[in-house]
């Protein structure tokens, strides 16, 4: 019996070692350990063993079984590992094949630039507000200290609907509408579409966008205006950006200024981009004219304020180095995809 068991064991070991796959190994397991297997057959023949030998033989059978089982498990693990290895090798892919992209759309460069500006000012406590694009002459001109027949009205090449209604030439009328609400202090920016009768070319469009800014409070100074816009320029164009304020004239601000920033292409050294000057003009600003405050119902003796206006397209063209304004309104997919 004992010899028989030894023989079975040796046979099993040989068979297991010869198994070259999980299927074969399973066949071996069934052949030796299964219901009709050889070891099971030995157990079944225990009745022929002498009762006093049974515990010894029984233990021997169990030991044999265990060692076969153990060997099968070990071999199985090895074979599984080998098979996985083969599978992994078979599954190698060409990672340089084209990506399967989820088609995501692209935001208009104007909007990207606008959002940057909005984020800067919202962070400084400004509310983003809007006003009508078709506007009363009063708000677009008169309330901004541009009375009837003022040459500035001609300069701005206004589109008229009738004598009283125009397509707004600037976002400045939103200032007036906000001031008229009478809620002070005011810190607002008003982005939006404006219109001037310029023929379409690489640098002109009859429809474009501005961002108006207005702060009205007690003790607002020109120094505050300078500080605010210097901060804005740094945020928008980079920490090293410097600003230059040049005296200018706008009917609705006094004192008024135009603001240049150091060319972000050459850092102020002078290049083709800034026409050699090292500076790029980006906005107009000034202290709100006392007459404008008064017309909107704010006492200029008590309150002062500053206002500024930025051309959105100008920022977008500069920032993204777009050389033709017409691209912004053609909506060519190949253009939009770049943003």
């Amino acid at each position: 019996m004992k010899a028989k068991l030894e023989q079975i064991k040796a046979e099993a070991i040989r068979e297991i070692q010869n198994s070259d796959g999980l299927g074969k190994l399973n066949d071996v397991r069934v052949a030796f350990l299964g219901k009709k297997g050889e070891l099971t057959a030995v157990l079944k023949s225990m009745k022929d063993v002498l009762p006093e030998e049974r515990p010894v033989i029984g233990q021997l059978v169990n030991e044999t079984r265990e060692s076969i089982e153990r060997l099968i498990e070990e071999t199985k693990a090895k074979l599984e590992a080998a098979e996985r290895e083969i599978k992994l090798k078979q599954e190698v892919i060409d990672v340089t094949l084209p990506a399967k992209k989820n088609r995501v759309g692209h935001r208009h460069p104007n909007t990207i630039a606008l959002e940057e500006v909005e984020n800067i000012f919202v962070g400084m406590g400004y509310e983003v507000v809007e006003g009508p694009e078709v506007e009363y002459d009063y708000y677009n001109f008169e309330a901004l200290n541009i009375p009837a027949n003022h040459p500035a009205k001609d300069e701005q090449d206004t589109f008229y609907i009738n004598d009283e209604i125009v397509l707004r030439t600037q976002t400045s009328p939103v200032q007036v509408r906000e001031m008229e609400k009478g809620k002070l202090p005011i810190r607002m920016i008003a982005p939006g579409r404006v219109f001037r009768s310029d023929e379409v070319d690489a640098t002109h469009s009859p429809s474009f966008h501005q961002i108006e800014g207005l702060v009205v409070d007690k003790n607002i100074t020109f120094a505050d205006l300078k500080g605010t816009l210097a901060e804005f320029a740094k945020e928008l164009f980079g920490e090293d950006t410097k600003v230059k304020f040049r005296p200018h004239h706008f009917p609705f601000t006094e004192p008024s200024a135009e603001v240049d920033v150091t060319c972000f292409k050459c850092g102020g050294k002078g290049c083709r981009f800034c026409k050699g000057s090292g500076w790029i003009e980006i906005l107009g600003c000034g202290m709100v004219h006392p007459r404008v405050l008064k017309m909107s119902g704010i006492d200029p003796e008590e309150y002062s304020g500053f206002a500024f206006g930025v051309g959105l397209e100008r920022i977008a063209l500069l920032k993204y180095e777009i050389d033709d304004m017409r691209l912004l309104y053609e909506n060519d997919d190949r253009f939009l995809k770049q943003f």
Binding site: R103, G105, H106, R107, H108, T111, E118, V122, G123, G125, Y126, E127, V128, E130, P132, E133, V134, E135, N149, P151, F159, Y160, I161, N162, E164, I165, L167, R187, R193, F195, S197, P206, S207, D217, K218, N219, I220, T221, F222, D224, K226, G227, T228, F245, R246, P247, H248, H249, E254, P255, S256, M287, H289, P290, S304, E330, N331, D332, D333, L336
Partner: protein, 806 residues
């Protein structure tokens, strides 16, 4: 406005700056210099030489060999092809290694042309004699220069000296951007005053001396101003025995540097004083003035007048005319008449320096369609006190140049004298506005520099009449700021009450629309708000449609930009068309832009501006793709209810069988569909185009950013499938309505999983299969829980004529 540096220096003699320094400093003090041109930028090593000897060239008929003295007794040999050279002449000579600005054909070469020693047909030539064109100018600006050939200097030219200096080309011309409030800076004197103040030098304007003979101008001319509103001042002087001649070279040079062509002494003096004082003047041939009188009056309606350019022009009653005893002789401030113009035979002339109402000149000039240098100046609103100085200055120049005999006295029709203004001054308030700590004396010092006096007793700044822009303290603050230096003002941030930065709710919902569209593959486009009325035909919109009632621009850029859009589709379709024509595949665009709906026609109040969220696409995707985007957006905007779709949208521009109004909570909030093939043809898009237009005000009213957590179901769901065969005309929406109505409390959702029309199904029918999901929040459902609902659904479906398949 342009000025040459030399002319500025004539009134600021101590000014010693480079062109760049001048440009920078003037810009920072408020007179913006846009740029400058150095007239001698491309000229180098050019001297005055004298031709001592001319010999024939041994090998060329058309060339001569000149010996030229270039000073210090040095002679060089130059071969030239010019035919106007003679022995003894003094000419500009560019030496070996020097540069000229261009060829003698007048074509300039950027950077200039280098001249080197060489041989011409075997004869050494060590330089070049120059024509005025080679020196970068023209015979227009240098009338004494010959049309062809070498420039010849006058006999007083000094051999060996710089020809550039002798020709006045050692000058810089600055181009300014003068703002409309600084009328005084549209003249050289005004800018010189600013330059003197900017650089801290003395301003020395010309001293205008008394002029005129013993006669009385009143014996020559009488002036009547009938409309003093439009003509606050009219000054007239008379010059007789006129001797028309070229003006002296110094005057020609100054005018040339400004880009003004010298003509003759009278014209040049008029132009010179206009540049100097910013005051336009006009000269009439007094012998053509009937009745020896000038009447300033408004034109009659449809009055015809021939201006000195020979054009007949038609006036109306608002246009101011200069007339004599019988007829009009000029349009005030715009252009004189052909009938009274100065000719070379003029004997006696009438000089006019007047002040006209700026607005009237601007409007008249527009009406007549004639804008001149003079009208451009008058329309800014000139200082009447300047007129008398200008006319006296002109007469002074007439005498100095010997151009005629000035008659004594001035006819000066000056109604209400324009006085200077007094503006209350408070240094502390100025500092408060600027955020500075500048002392009062410094501020008053700044005022003095620009001829603003200060009244210490009344604490008022006395503003002369030429600074009409200074009206209030803020204006004075700007004067302080620009001379203190904008750069020197400190920087700070607004103090005071903190405010919350935020976007309006409307803008937040729009941002959500952008996000959703982009996630769904749509890129943002922008199109114009105005378009052509023809788009309605393109979009097959009927004649009587409300959409054709538009806000019309009265002065559009053209018909194509003449109406404010009442529908957003034209912009979208045009953009898609552009893409299609450029062979871009699978294009998806969206736009957020307003439409403008008039409240009444004609428009008397502001139109309603409604933000439209417009989506458009061609290529991949279909109606249901577009529908998915719409629903995705609604869901994101917190519209969690169920949208319904009404195929009876009645949109003529959409495919009649593939369009729907989007309905939410019973309201039409937008529409979507496939573009009608005819419309697609009109836009030349040869593909199916799908669009959706969402009316954003409706969405903004319904949108919410509030979210409430619902709890994740813990108990298993039960799925039941329903397979149906139904007539094609029944919309699946009807079926879903039944699910919603009859599904009971446990119906969690349903999903279409099969739709089939074709051979397997009898014609006119379609097969539809839905999977329904039932679930309870608090227990595992038993069959008895959902069977009643299922039965109700099945019954209702059968009542609709739907066959159920087992």
């Amino acid at each position: 406005m342009n000025t040459s540096l030399s002319w500025i220096k004539a009134y600021v003699p101590d000014l010693d700056v480079t062109a760049q320094e001048y440009m920078d400093a003037m810009t920072l003090s408020g007179s913006k210099v846009e740029g400058f041109e150095k007239l001698d930028a491309d000229l180098d090593k050019i001297v005055i030489g004298q031709i001592t000897k001319i010999d024939k060239h041994p090998d060329a008929d058309k060339l001569v060999v000149c010996q030229v003295n270039i000073g210090t007794n040095e002679e060089i040999q130059i071969v030239t092809g010019a035919s106007n050279v003679r022995e003894g002449q003094k000419v500009p000579v560019v030496l070996d290694g020097g540069r000229v600005a261009g060829g003698h054909d007048g074509k300039k070469t950027p950077g200039g042309i280098k001249i080197k020693k060489g041989k011409l047909r075997g004869v050494p030539s060590n330089g070049m004699m120059c024509s005025i064109e080679e020196l970068g100018s023209t015979t227009d600006m240098y009338p004494e220069a010959p049309e062809e050939g070498i420039y010849i200097f006058g006999e007083d030219a000094v051999v060996g000296e710089s020809a550039i200096t002798a020709l006045g080309l050692d000058d810089v011309v600055f181009e300014y951007e003068i703002t409309s409030n600084r009328v005084d800076c549209f003249g050289v004197l005004g800018l010189a005053r600013e330059a003197a103040a900017t650089f801290g030098k003395d301003f020395k304007p010309p001293i205008v001396t008394a002029t005129g003979n013993q006669e009385d101008v009143n014996d020559y001319i009488k002036v009547t101003v009938k409309d003093a509103e439009l003509c606050p001042r009219y000054c007239a002087r008379v010059v007789k025995n006129i001797k028309i001649a070229p003006s002296p070279q110094w005057m020609q040079r100054r005018l040339a540097a400004q880009g003004i062509r010298p003509i003759n002494n009278i014209v040049d003096i008029t132009n010179y004083v206009m540049e100097e004082y910013g005051q336009p003047m006009h000269a009439y041939d007094l012998d053509t003035i009937a009745g020896k009188e000038i009447v300033v009056r408004r034109a009659a309606k449809d009055e015809k007048f021939v201006t000195l350019d020979g054009q007949e022009r038609t006036m109306d009653e608002s246009v101011l005319m200069i007339c004599d005893g019988e007829k009009a002789v000029g349009i005030a401030g715009i252009m004189g008449g052909e009938n009274s113009m100065i000719t070379d035979n003029v004997q006696t002339m009438l000089f006019e320096a007047a002040c006209f109402d700026g607005t009237n000149i601007r409007l008249s000039s527009k009406k007549i369609g004639l804008r001149t240098d003079a009208s451009g100046k008058f329309e800014k609103g000139l200082d009447p006190n300047n007129a008398i100085d200008a006319i006296n200055r002109a007469c002074q120049l007439i005498e100095e140049l010997g151009a005629g005999e000035v008659v004594g006295g001035v006819v000066d029709a000056y109604g209400k004298v324009k006085e200077g203004r007094r503006v209350a001054f408070d240094a502390q308030k100025v500092n408060q506005l600027l955020g500075t700590e500048i002392d009062k004396e410094t501020m008053i010092g700044y005022f003095k520099k620009i001829d603003l006096d200060y009244d210490f007793d009344k604490e008022e700044v006395i503003v002369p009449s030429w600074r009409q822009d200074l009206e209030c303290l803020a204006d004075l603050a700007e004067e302080v700021a620009r001379f203190y230096g904008y750069d020197n003002i400190p920087t700070s941030l607004p103090s005071g009450e903190a405010t919350t930065g935020k976007l309006s709710f409307k803008l937040r919902v729009e941002a959500l629309a952008r996000d959703t569209a982009e996630f769904c593959g749509f890129s943002q486009g922008m199109t114009y708000s105005f378009e052509s009325p023809k788009v309605f035909d393109k979009l097959l919109i009927p004649e009587d449609s409300e959409l054709r009632k538009t806000v019309v621009i009265s002065n559009p850029l053209g018909e194509d930009f003449s109406i404010m859009r009442t529908i957003s589709l034209n912009g979208m379709l045009t953009s898609l068309s552009t893409n299609f024509n450029r062979r871009n595949k699978n294009v998806r665009l969206y736009e957020l832009g307003n439409i403008y709906l008039p409240k009444q026609i004609p428009v008397t109040e502001l139109p309603e501006e409604r933000m439209q969220f417009t989506l458009g696409m061609y290529g991949e995707g279909d109606f249901y793709t577009m529908k998915g985007v719409v629903e995705e957006f609604f869901d994101k905007a917190g519209l969690h209810g169920k949208e319904s779709y009404d195929p009876q949208a009645g949109k003529p521009f959409l495919h009649p069988g593939r369009q729907a109004n989007v309905i939410y909570e019973g309201k039409i909030v937008g529409y979507l569909g496939e573009i009608h093939p005819q419309v697609a043809d009109n836009y030349e898009i040869k593909d199916r185009v799908y669009v959706a237009v969402i009316d954003m005000p409706e969405i903004t009213a319904l949108a919410s950013f509030d979210r409430k957590y619902q709890g994740i179901a813990k108990f298993p769901a039960v799925n039941r499938d329903i397979s149906m065969v139904m007539p094609k005309h029944i919309l699946v929406g009807e079926v879903e309505k039944i699910f919603d109505a009859k599904g009971g409390q446990y119906l969690e959702g349903y999903e279409l999983f099969d739709l089939y029309e074709g051979a397997q199904i009898k014609s006119g029918y379609k097969s539809v299969a839905y999977s329904l999901t039932f679930r309870a929040q608090d227990k595992t459902l038993e069959e008895a829980d959902y069977t009643p609902a299922m039965n109700k659904i099945l019954k209702a479906l059968e009542e609709l004529g739907i066959e159920l398949r087992k």
